[in-house]
């Protein structure tokens, strides 16, 4: 992970001092809520149903064990002993008190963690691939660039009061694990024909009331120019994005209303006029950032060590190994995904005890590093394959070894009406019931990769539009109903799901999902054909028939 230097630490501390002053002025009445709200949002503080909610940034999903322990400490000291990992690689605490926030922020600042710009009309956490730096075939570590962009966008004086929030994601692999196509700006790091490193720049992706898949604005911007190009995009957005209607204020609406060609021209005109070299990224700037990223000194290790051969006898271990461990760029190592989706539990949550224990395991088995993925699971990015059996035993004791990664019970869900003041319906109990229906691992493996996404309202924090099965909570006459879509995907082939029919009541959602899965199993061309590909091949109709035949 990136090591803060004195400069980074100073900024975070200055920010904490400023917020402490702002809270004081709020509680004394010097600041009205109208004046304070945007300030607290800029520090990740929401008001929810029961309490304030505190969203802490985990830049590009990378944590040190020390930082994870600090998150556990906040959960324990200022909250109710647990936290929730989000679809943007952040963590949320649901029961925080406003008066405790300055202290919580101060405690986090000690380990280089902050909550700057995790809400508000500014640039949010720049997210990336939770396998960045360790995935085989990656062009280069996208987190270097994510860190550069994090710094560039933090407390940017021109762009702290945008028309609406602004989200950037970066991928550096052929398979996009960062969902760049549903971001305001998506960046695909690659090399051009001359071997130069640069980015395909996409704009205008986003979900919510008017979902859009991002469009390419420029196929290649050299790395050295990416910040100035970003500044041009953001200046055009800041000046011309709609401010009359919060539901039409994202850049995706501006791109849609102008058309991508016209928008690209506007950006280019602005970009050409930027004479200053101030934003050019020289190689030594990149090197400076890279030098403060930690990379382990990998040993030369065998792919199939004795420990692994012996443990292969254990069926339970094997089931987990096959499901939750993934190829690493260094021979003899593995990337381990930690499922936060145990049967019957709220997806994406971890207790302070689990966080502390995981920090210890990271120290022991992963060079002290943990990752957070947008599917609301965690990962240990540098595990020696010989350590897998010992690691698994420890994870299993902690309830962190459910072998359901990427399967039907690996559900992505927003907090929903149990927590969120924007929600129309609950999402977590739906997720919990679904994990119970599909608890059998053989069944789940038979079904194969299947992403279910649940949102409790149209704001789509659960990314339901791009779920293989998407579930959206709505309200009908005071009752909770759910619209079901199928065929969405969030990766490099990103697509929005299609509605299968009228909304169904709360009590029937799990049955409907079972029907959809049954239809898939009956209709798939072969066991290798993924659910999402069967939907692509056959369309919605056969599924609609099966689900609504008796409803």
């Amino acid at each position: 992970m990136y090591a803060y230097d004195e400069i980074d630490r100073t900024l975070v501390n200055e920010r904490v001092a400023e917020f402490r002053d702002q809270v004081k002025r709020r509680l004394s009445g010097e600041l009205t809520e109208d004046e304070f709200k945007m300030l607290r949002l800029q520090n990740g503080v929401y008001l929810q149903l029961h309490a304030y909610m505190f969203r802490v940034a985990i830049p590009y999903g990378t944590l040190s064990s020390r930082q994870l322990r600090a998150l556990a400490h906040v959960a324990r000291r200022y909250d109710r002993g647990y936290g929730h990992f989000t679809t943007r690689q952040n963590i949320q605490f649901n029961w925080i008190k406003l008066k405790d926030l300055p202290d919580a922020l101060s405690d986090l600042a000690e380990v280089g963690i902050h909550a700057m710009q995790t809400s508000g009309n500014n640039t949010r956490n720049v997210t990336s691939d939770q396998w960045a730096g360790v995935a085989p075939g990656e062009i280069e570590d996208p987190r270097i660039w994510a860190e550069l962009m994090r710094q560039y966008t933090t407390l940017h004086p021109e762009f702290s009061f945008l028309p609406r929030k602004f989200k950037i994601a970066i991928t550096a692999s052929a398979h996009d694990r960062a969902a760049i196509k549903i971001h305001d700006v998506g960046l695909r790091l690659h090399k051009n024909a001359d071997g130069e490193t640069g980015f395909e720049v996409l704009v205008g992706g986003g979900l919510g009331r008017t979902p859009f898949i991002a469009k390419t604005i420029k196929p290649f911007v050299a790395g050295r120019d990416i910040l100035s190009y970003l500044e041009a995009i953001m200046r055009v957005y800041n000046q011309y994005g709609r401010r009359d209607n919060i539901y039409k204020a994202r850049i995706k609406i501006l791109v849609h209303e102008l058309g991508i060609e016209k928008f690209a021209v506007e950006v280019d005109e602005e970009w050409q006029q930027m004479k200053s070299d101030a934003l050019v990224i020289d190689d030594d700037v990149v090197e400076d950032i890279r030098s403060r990223f930690f990379y382990p000194a990998y040993e030369k290790l065998p792919h199939n060590p004795e420990e692994l051969k012996k443990a292969a006898q254990d069926q339970k271990f094997e089931a987990w190994r096959k499901n939750s461990t993934f190829a690493h760029k260094a021979p003899g190592y593995a990337i381990v995904t930690i499922s936060l989706k145990p049967v019957g539990a709220p997806p994406g949550d971890a207790t302070a005890e689990q966080m502390d224990a995981l920090a210890d395991l990271a120290d022991k088995y992963s060079f002290g590093e943990i990752r957070v993925g947008h599917e609301q699971n965690l990962a240990l990015p540098h595990v020696a394959r010989r350590d897998l059996p010992a690691l698994w035993k420890a994870l299993d004791r902690l309830g962190l070894a459910t072998p359901n990664v990427n399967l039907v019970s690996d559900i992505i869900a927003c907090p929903g009406l149990d927590y969120c003041s924007l929600a129309n319906a609950r999402s977590i109990p739906i997720a919990q019931e679904l994990t119970r229906r599909f608890a059998n691992h053989d069944t789940a493996n038979l079904i194969g990769r299947l992403h279910i996404n649940i949102s409790g309202c149209i704001n789509a924090c659960g990314h339901h539009h791009v779920g293989h099965i998407g579930i959206l909570g709505v309200e009908k006459n005071g009752e909770e109903f759910y619209q079901i879509t199928i065929g969405g995907r969030a990766d490099e082939s990103a697509e929005l799901g299609a509605l299968i029919g009228p909304a169904v009541p709360y009590g029937e959602v799990a049955d409907v999902v079972e029907d959809i899965v049954e239809a898939y199993l009956a209709l798939r061309a072969s066991p290798d054909e993924l659910f999402v590909d069967t939907v692509k091949r056959l369309g919605v109709e056969p599924f609609r028939e099966r689900v609504y035949a008796t409803r």
Binding site: T32, H50, K97, A345, T351, L417
Partner: protein, 110 residues
Amino acid sequence: MTSPLEQKKIKITGPSVVTANRTVDGAVIYRTAQKDWSTDLAHAAIVRAADEARTLLAESVADDVGAVGAYIAPVEVTNGKIAPGNLREQIRRSGVTINLLPAIGLPVQA
């Protein structure tokens, strides 16, 4: 449970209360008839007409230091007992409807 934060016009369809969150800690509170706030729904002032509601809301909103995000919420009154009038208000009063991490056994109550 369409977010009442999007309420523009005040419409009363039955007995209602004014509810908000306490500024200092975010706790759920209800406006009382004593120009005060209580965390206990039993102490909430009940309004039954739009202009009554408007008055109560205006006075609640004026307490900008003590409370945040005041709005009008429906209740049910049976034999003098006040109960939340919809699922959202039930959840605000009683807490989340889910078991938090059953493996660890945390309580549900707010």
